[in-house]
């Protein structure tokens, strides 16, 4: 375990954004205290440390808060320099950041749309999602991970798809993860989930499926919430 001051992570067990921070901490062997937040009843601490968004994850390092999971990942990589997450070369770094941004700007929205789509909207939403999977599949061609031989920044940021996309498929009854259509992406999922820091740090599947069933029901009942 590596120390470097007091590290605390405010999170929520089902949140993919929180897990990606935990994966980074585990990969680097950083000792931290985890604080589970009740999202329906946010703690004073959470509101104090993240007054603008009032969201998890929040990383507290020696009492100073860092928020936004991608910002936290970059911070972790800059403070604890061993086992680097981002490559050294500026062009490779730009590519890693690009695919991380793609995860947040396109993939998350695409999955969300399919997850909540009903009736006629579904087919179009699936088409959009498949477009993102095609792009990711193309980027992975010839590689085990987005980061090359080892997982890196974009793997950690896109990593939610390796677990939560499967959960979404089950909860919302759709299927997109076809090895014939996306051979590299589906292989990547298998490879990613085998990495010990990831494998040992996933929420329980049944509990996650049940949680997202509830989440979907709630949203479909009151879509503007």
């Amino acid at each position: 375990m590596v120390s470097g001051g007091e590290v605390k992570l405010f999170g929520m067990w089902a949140s993919p954004a929180v897990r990606r921070v935990e994966w980074a901490l585990k990969l680097k062997g950083i000792k931290y205290e985890y604080v589970e937040e009740d999202i329906s009843n946010k703690s004073g601490a959470l509101v104090q440390y993240n007054p603008i968004n009032k969201q998890v994850p929040v990383l507290l390092h020696n009492g100073k808060p860092i928020v936004e999971s991608l910002v936290i990942l970059e911070y972790i990589d800059e403070v604890w320099k061993h086992h680097p997450i981002l490559p050294k070369d500026p062009y490779e770094r730009a590519m890693a950041r690009f695919w991380a941004a793609y995860s947040e700007d396109k993939c998350r929205d695409a999955v969300r749309r399919v997850f909540f789509a009903e009736g006629g909207e579904r087919a179009k939403a699936i088409e959009c999602l498949e477009e993102t999977l095609r792009a990711l599949d193309g980027e992975l061609e010839g590689k085990e991970f987005f980061g090359g031989e080892n997982i890196g920044f974009s793997d950690l940021v896109l990593g939610w798809m390796a677990f939560w996309l499967g959960v979404s498929e089950e909860v919302a009854s759709f299927e997109v993860l076809d090895p014939k259509k996306f051979p590299w992406f589906t292989s990547w999922i298998d490879n990613f989930l085998q990495v010990p820091a990831i494998k040992e740090n996933l929420p329980p599947r049944d509990k996650t499926v049940a949680f997202f069933h509830g989440y979907r029901r709630l949203h479909l009942a009151a879509p503007n919430c």
């Binding site: 603008i52 860092i66 936004e68 910002v71 970059e74 062009y91 730009a94």
Partner: protein, 233 residues
Amino acid sequence: MAGGQELKLLGLWASPFVLRSRIALNLKGVGYEFLEEVPGTKSELLLRSNPVYKKMPVLIHNGKPICESMIIVQYIDGVWDAAGPSILPSDPYDRAIARFWAVYIDDKWFPSLIKIIKAKADDEETAEAREQVIAGLQLLEEAFEKCSKGKDFFGGESVGYLDIAFGCYWGWLKAGEKMAGIKLLDEEKTPLLMGWAERFCSADAVKELMPEVDQLVEFGNMIRARQNAAAAN
């Protein structure tokens, strides 16, 4: 020029995102070829260099494209790290703060400003957007006080990451006021930001690039007219 011989930037004079790249290149004293896109069309080169988003800016360095405006700024800072002051703060915590605010500005604040720029009438949506823009400016006023630590810019003594991320929108902020006939800036409420904006807009790396507000208003009106015509057809 360090880092290679061929440097092209695909962009448009009116785009705040393109402006970010140009300011960063100026800060590093790097020469480049500016390839201006025609508004409303996308060049072959743009579509080829940015097939995923098909958007500008795209920086092409020795044939390799780099996309997304703040990613480009960090790339420039990384490649030409020996040239001029660092664009990103040197302390990791200061970097995290700068990055956080840049995300806030792009994800929360600018979408509200766009609503005002596109506003057709003085309705509830526009009033709400106005509140959000003004509230954001107040937050950024406080952020400036903390980040600048008494110096001229968010980045301290020189124009830095957050100055570029926010400053690129200043022209459109003023254009939005004119186009919607709404006051957004208040010298009394955000005096630090007003002082900073003057220094930013007159900084060497910025002054020749900042578009004139009236030209942006004209551009904005032209785009709006084009969109209305397309919607009517």
